[in-house]
Amino acid sequence: MNNGQWWAVGLSDAIEPGHTLAVVCEGKPIVLFRDEAGQAFALEDRCSHRRVPLSPGPVKPGGLQCPYHGWTFDGNSGRCTDIPNLGREERVPSSYGVTPYPVAEANGFIHVWLGDWAPGEYLPAASYRKTGIEYTGSAVVSLARDHYLDVMLDGPECLLAFTGVQITDFFLGDPRQDGDHLVLDRGAIWKGKGVGPAFVRDYPLVVRTSVPLVGGVITVELLSVDEEPLITICIAATENRRGTTSLCWRGGLHGSTISDSTMRWRFSRVIGRKPFEVFSEIDGNAIAALQIAPSLERIWPSSTASGSYSSFSPEVC
């Protein structure tokens, strides 16, 4: 176990009071649930009695009840609080528990703390701000998390789309390090307007991807040429099983108006069309064909990133 970090593992609105949600984070099965008062809890999704998942079980006043034999586990401590049919004088040993995980909710994301140390203060989705109508979703994609983060730098158009916008593969400079994120801008154009991406003198739009060096919250923004935010998407990515990645996201339109947009963009806004899509199905051919470029900075952060990495030196014969 590492020293620990918060992971955004689910959307707050995905769990009603009295319900559960099974997630996988860093390969660990975790059950999230809310009590009737709305408080969220996270437990290892494995009963300590006979190992079945707790997530299909009902939420009871004493915690989450296992669907197999009805042992109940407290959401805070993970302790088994009830074994059905025990006599009044019988006590459940205090060691009969499951692993609890600290939970924190912020900006519509449920975070769990995985690690040995006491939970830190900083929550990955802390910087996300809801703007206007929100669009949310979740998916498990057939791409490992590391690759997902890499592709977000090398070719975000393989992973998401902005309605009426074409993301180009011309990135503007190299990734720069901002705290523990790598940030990269790339040009984008309006679909159906102008001569095409290769001949654009100045890109009318910028797509800014901010990819974490640790943890899993990605921010993707569509900006005007004046760097006014038009759309912001916050995507939480955690490692699921067998090389897959769990995603959950929220995002929305900012109020900014943009003078040189297309009719299509303006019409889409009027009819309330979804302004972006995060792909649940990923095109393997496109991913395989993608050249590795800015993502090298994730593996070998170099002087081009504004951090202080200098350990990589080429071998000299």
Binding site: R46, S48, H49, Y68, N85
Partner: protein
């Protein structure tokens, strides 16, 4: 409470249900009625078994009939290099000897007192094949365990409220017998509406007799007022992760239409059990560092775990014999409570 180290555990090792491949036993691999001249394939502990009839006589081989002669070079110890397993027909099943062919004895076939020995007259409606996506030992444990019914099968079986509910467990080196005595339980809906039991309450005495080597589970639940629903559930291990069960729910003495419908309850119960067992199975293949916690309600199951481990340990030491406390062919009618 049995504590983190259940009192009936002698080993510090975790119990990994797939690690037990017990030998020198008879497996009921198929219903006699399922095998004719055309070969059918069955699998026992990942080992192929082809069954067919030759002039009415049952034949069991490691290879398809057309390949037996050219495959003899790779014939295993289990057939003594002949390619053919010892087989016997009894109680409507084909019993296959899994082990050293020289050690086989027909007296080691479990006694099933409520079924005709020659299998004659067993109606087909009593026979249902079901499959479980888990190590066979987990399924047996699930059958021994009574406490899950209230949670997993509550909708199918109804409430389990009763005046008293008492469980006993007895064992030999080869068997575990669990007896449950329930007084004044509410009559199960199926028995009330289809079985014609008009009373509100009934008593239940349910005996489950489990053979450790071959997972043959012989059960005699008797409802008063009502009737008995004797049944056999042989969990034949197909491999480490799957088992096949050719059940016989011998409801011939119950009134119609209950007698025909009751065997079909496995279509409701089996998927519910299977949903849990599938997930459970995978977790018993993970690191064995964390052992299961148990309550006193797990005593029969833990006894089963302990006895299986002991038997496996003996077999690891090369001892495949049957001890004197185990007489598998002895009439178990009184053990099952058929004669009380």
């Amino acid at each position: 409470m049995d504590g983190t180290q259940p009192s009936e555990f002698s080993s510090k090792r975790d119990w990994v249900p797939s690690n037990f491949d017990l030998r020198d036993t008879w497996f009921p691999v198929a219903y006699c009625a399922d095998v004719d001249t055309r070969p059918v394939r069955r699998i026992v502990h990942a080992q192929d078994v082809y069954l067919w009839r030759d002039f009415g006589r049952i034949v069991a081989a490691e290879f398809r009939p057309d390949r037996v002669s050219q495959s003899l070079k790779v014939a295993t110890f289990f057939t003594g290099g002949t390619g053919y397993y010892p087989v016997v027909e009894r109680y409507g099943y084909i019993w296959l000897w899994y082990g050293n062919p020289d050690a086989r004895h027909e007296e080691l076939i479990p006694n099933i007192p409520f079924l005709p020995l020659d299998g004659k007259g067993i109606p087909r409606y009593t026979q249902r094949s079901v499959r479980f996506d888990a190590a066979s030992l987990l399924s047996v444990e699930n059958l021994i365990d009574l406490t899950h019914a209230d949670f997993l099968h509550a909708n199918a079986i109804g409430d389990n409220k009763s005046e008293s509910d008492h469980v006993e467990v007895a064992s030999t080196s080869e068997t575990v017998t669990r007896t449950r005595i329930v007084t004044r339980k509410s009559v199960a809906p199926v028995m009330r509406w289809i079985g014609g039991v008009r009373a509100k309450y009934q008593d239940l005495r349910a005996v489950l007799h489990v053979h450790l080597r071959n997972n043959v589970c012989i059960s005699y639940p008797r409802f008063t007022p009502g009737y008995a629903i004797p049944n056999v559930q042989p969990f034949v291990p197909v491999g480490k992760h799957r088992s096949r069960v050719d059940q016989t729910n011998y409801t011939v003495h119950a009134p119609a239409p209950f007698r025909w419908l009751m065997p079909r309850i496995s279509y409701v119960i089996q998927p519910q059990d299977n949903a849990v067992l599938r997930q459970q199975n995978a977790r018993y293949f993970e690191s064995a560092e964390r052992r299961d916690f148990s309550s006193r309600f797990d005593r029969p199951g833990n006894r089963y775990r302990l006895l299986i481990s002991r038997l496996a340990e003996r077999q690891r030491q090369g001892d495949f014999s049957y001890q004197t406390d185990a007489d598998l062919s002895a009439d178990i009618a009184s053990v099952l409570g058929m004669k009380d």
